[in-house]
Amino acid sequence: MIVHSEYFYWMVGCILAITGVMILTDKTHSRRISSSAFWFIIAALFLFSDWLPPALTGACVVVAALIAGFGGLGRGKPNNLPEQQRQASAMRLGNRLFVPALIVPVGTLIGSIALPKLKIGGMYFLDPANPTLTALGVSVIVAVLVACWLTRGTVLESMRQSRHLTESLGWTLLLPQMLAILGLMFGRAGVGDAAAWLTHTYVNTDYKLVAILVYTVGAAVVTMILGGAFAAFPVMMMAVGLPVLIHVYHGNPAVIAAIGMFSGYSGTLMTPMAAHFNIVPAALLDLPDRYGVIRAQVMTALPLLAANVVLLYVLM
């Protein structure tokens, strides 16, 4: 293949290394040394972790997490253009400004659907194992070049802006990954089995409505703890879905599965453990409240959970 997905891990490594250098040379930065150390560690992991022994990689991850956890990350002063100049630039460029912004999602979409089978000179163009990721990477490169051409900005300027956005996201960028690692650890240590055993042993499911409530609300609660409905679904299926709803009440397994997973999604909308969907966007949108997105979602998630209880009772 021509474009490997590894290339983009290396690209992120380079971007974060540049971020680290920019922070290290920024005299006005409040936590110059610890911040740049953090980003250098993450950059090194993106560049070299394929070749490092896993335990060393793990140790680096823990050190980075400790730097972030004890407040080692600061923020530099962003060098934005003054409001008037931005307005003037927006007037001058008009809707053309949308073009590079749309290249990223649209290019990723087209690339991941149309191009996985594209071959140039007998070789796959995009990594067939990971077409979405490679399509995103290629789209971003194209979009940066188009944006530079359009705004007469430079790639260096784009790195400076990227550095400030990366710094404003800070450790929230790595939280989804840390949670995924925790999820893998939970799976290995058998947390799901333990939760299923507890539910199965201590909850009375002699009434159909009680069984349905335990299954749906349980899926939401276990999702909130584990951070993802995919991890919670097998737990609730083993504990209540299969032994009670399918075997005792002879419910339709397709309905039970579909609604069980969706009940879990109500939990996803309400938990900081689903950081990728709830915590990262709060940082991306500069919300002062880390849990602002979750607060906005609770009043969708709870009525939807109630709707799932009713739907499962009626349709099962």
Partner: protein, 248 residues
Amino acid sequence: MHAAANLWPLWGVAVIVIGFALRINPMLVVVGATVVTGLCATMPLLDILAQIGTGFVKTRNLPLIIILPLAVIGLLERYGLREQAQAWISKVRVASAGRLLIVYLAVRELSSALGLVSLGGHAQMVRPLIAPMAEGAALNNHGSLTDEMRYRIRAMAAATDNVGLFYGEDIFVAFGGIMLMHTLLTGMGVAVEPLAIAAWGIPTALCAFLIQAVRLYRLDGHLLRQAGASQSGAGAPSTATAMHAEGH
């Protein structure tokens, strides 16, 4: 299979719950929970570190999809992308924050249901385009926005992206979640078609659309009341509270 489950690893869950409740930095809570869970499962420390390292390598794609688009967005925002998004939406007279987000919800949920999940996302769509447009539409309708109103609109924009994605993609038959349910049930000896699982998700997907759309519809009314309150409060909210305090 439920004869004797080892309950010790649940201490990891306890660390999570206590850590978040005490508002300790989430990075510390999560690393702490990972180590505690491993120790409770009697793994040696070196194995725990190796497990963390392997997990990191496996999940490197997660931060990548956020970090890469920042280079584009940062540059465009420097040259007025948000200002242009607000100017563009102000030309659409019927636009309001709620109506715009309802349209985005419909597009996001339908395209996800067709498997087109990359046509959205917080870094790719919400931050550069959807949130500024929603703010611009509200600004157009209400004259000025308080910080509280801005944050409310942004949070609802992010929530709309999540709801559209979650409840759309799960009725797409080739989605990983459907495959997971099918594999799991087949493994348990229950015969079920992936298409049936996808189809039985449709009632919930419709409910999700209705509930979120009603909330977005009500967002406009909420913003109108807040705008009225901030204008009749004679200037900045701080002055209003100061006057209030004097009165008593």
